[in-house]
Subunit: 220 residues, 4 copies
Amino acid sequence: MKAVIINFKAYGEGSGEKAVSLSKAVEEVSKKVDFYMAVCPPFVDLSDVIRNVEIDVFAQHADAVGYGSHTARITPEMLKEKGVKGSLINHSERRLRLADIEFLVSKFGELELTSVVCTNNVATTKAAASLKPDYVAIEPPELIGSGIPVSKAEPEIVENSVRAAKDINPDVKVLCGAGITTYEDVVSAIDLGADGVLLASGVVKAEDQKRALEELVGLR
Amino acid sequence: MKAVIINFKAYGEGSGEKAVSLSKAVEEVSKKVDFYMAVCPPFVDLSDVIRNVEIDVFAQHADAVGYGSHTARITPEMLKEKGVKGSLINHSERRLRLADIEFLVSKFGELELTSVVCTNNVATTKAAASLKPDYVAIEPPELIGSGIPVSKAEPEIVENSVRAAKDINPDVKVLCGAGITTYEDVVSAIDLGADGVLLASGVVKAEDQKRALEELVGLR
Amino acid sequence: MKAVIINFKAYGEGSGEKAVSLSKAVEEVSKKVDFYMAVCPPFVDLSDVIRNVEIDVFAQHADAVGYGSHTARITPEMLKEKGVKGSLINHSERRLRLADIEFLVSKFGELELTSVVCTNNVATTKAAASLKPDYVAIEPPELIGSGIPVSKAEPEIVENSVRAAKDINPDVKVLCGAGITTYEDVVSAIDLGADGVLLASGVVKAEDQKRALEELVGLR
Amino acid sequence: MKAVIINFKAYGEGSGEKAVSLSKAVEEVSKKVDFYMAVCPPFVDLSDVIRNVEIDVFAQHADAVGYGSHTARITPEMLKEKGVKGSLINHSERRLRLADIEFLVSKFGELELTSVVCTNNVATTKAAASLKPDYVAIEPPELIGSGIPVSKAEPEIVENSVRAAKDINPDVKVLCGAGITTYEDVVSAIDLGADGVLLASGVVKAEDQKRALEELVGLR
């Protein structure tokens, strides 16, 4: 099943009560389609979202430390106890050091959390895939928030990333992660070999979030 | 009323279900004494703690951004909506840039959130106090986690910090924040002019947290 | 004597051989005017610039550590040994933590290096001035690189910063640091109470650097 | 020819005039042995070292930016113009984000600078090797500065890293980079498949640097 993962970032439209209502909308839509749909609300909303929906809930980030004297850090173990399914790692707005990405992917494996490592081009996708995460999500920086889907602006980045990733690690899944706003974008990403999409503003900042979701998955 | 604020850090003993149970213990103790007592659980536990206790709940940190495209960041507005009372700012394990401390203190003022700016010596306490936060909390780095109370090892740091802070800003409250573990430590901090204490491992890592709390506030 | 300090940043036009030739141009101009003029080339060019000019040479940054196991860090002691006069600290493109600013200002005092702490508004200027650096340089972020001089766009920031800084520390000198490109800008900054200016692109990126320098100091 | 690369870090014993004298000692020793020997002095000493020796000089770090408005950053182009041979990248004391490592390795390729990417275990070595740097240097964090050579404490890390790196990229050279202090350590690293060693304190902090160097390469 192809994946549609929605990152709420720190948008006001995806925080607090709106994190819960948007997650409910995603859940509702997910029941009508053949996509695996999941949400990534802010840390402070994880608990409230998890109590209110049954779809998988991801964190937007985890810190590369264990329990301990680390004020304000969120450890993989905390996320596991909270009931999240996994987390984005190395998002373009929260880039991590290579050693920390490796620590997190490895720790997530132990804890049975799903790791989604974000990357910015073919070379970093290959490097990330070699760490054996569950997913890599390609987000070319020049396309983020541009409304231009990576699958159209640079289809060869998607194709080459999918190939490079699967050459190194046939089990890794590849998400296409920039500029996705329409069902057509989703379909073309999948046609290029992607196992799904990671998106944010296209849904969260939409005037009508529910409608944007339905359009995205081909219900309209 | 003198303040006792407890930072749960990323300790396993103050995370998840234990964040809630420890907060309940603090609440119970607070009813028997003449201290203002508050807790600082991890971001992911704020919501669950707030639903379970009536004492004030603080975050351990806030990011110096507003709502927007900031994956994994926690804005002051998010904290406000969640119902927290305020936050630590610039904790020694999460030091911030001067411009960001200023942004946060100023934004907290607008949102009526309580700001507790951590500092490491007399000079930085003075600089922090000039930004007009509600509290400054002095934690000399060499004493953190040492079990040696700042009020004993370096009483002049407390005295001079209190004086420097209040010279610049008579309204600011000063917390003593390193090595506090006993009631005697709390009393000597107050005798040196402090408006309270900020502590962590002394309670959170104690074998018997409830007992450690009671000792701390003079109930044993 | 009013100061004109020129930050070469990482501009190609102020690096390598051009760091030396631009520094020579500044030296030449400085002989004809009644300004204290100094340059801030990249770390790797400090040595070559110092061997070639007699004007004061500043670093663009120093790291808040002493000699030791700190790969790629540049300590205040290294700068001192190299013969620099001082350094920018906390430039808007290299913001530092409050504790690190304090460490550097204090260490610079011991080593008799001149400290120029950059700030972004009245409140941070006041906080920085309380640390007793030699200079504070105000650069409102919205004006950096804008070509709009802070002394015109927001004259009250300059006036209030000068007042706030000197209230806390009468000995501190205040530089005006954003958007300065003409002699008129320099004069109006000084009229508002500034002890000089800190500038970068206006000279370094000018088509004719020498001419831009001469205009800046009123020689044309 | 096997490589011996010496990182001067920010040690006082490898800074300023001592950066030059230590580099001269390395040069002298290098003439008597069949090793490729190179030095990594601090940024501010690169120019003086390069003017005084003919062996290859590396930087300890480069910033992942081009020429521009980046105060205090050192670009690959600056290093090239200065005459350095290459640089360490991602040293354990200066860890970089994956995207920045990739940017630097790729830019170094264009500029014909030699890239030495430091890593901390087998998985990150593999990821780094996939980016096609000239060298990877394995430094298990627990052994750095311990005096325990990685080739002895964890020989399988060296063997597995060499194998993992060369599987992905047969051209990459692998350095062994922690705890090397004796000729025996160098030999055992090479026996495990390494193409050389990267070391620091063993030479720079030695009471007699020249003697330590001679011992290291088997001259004593």
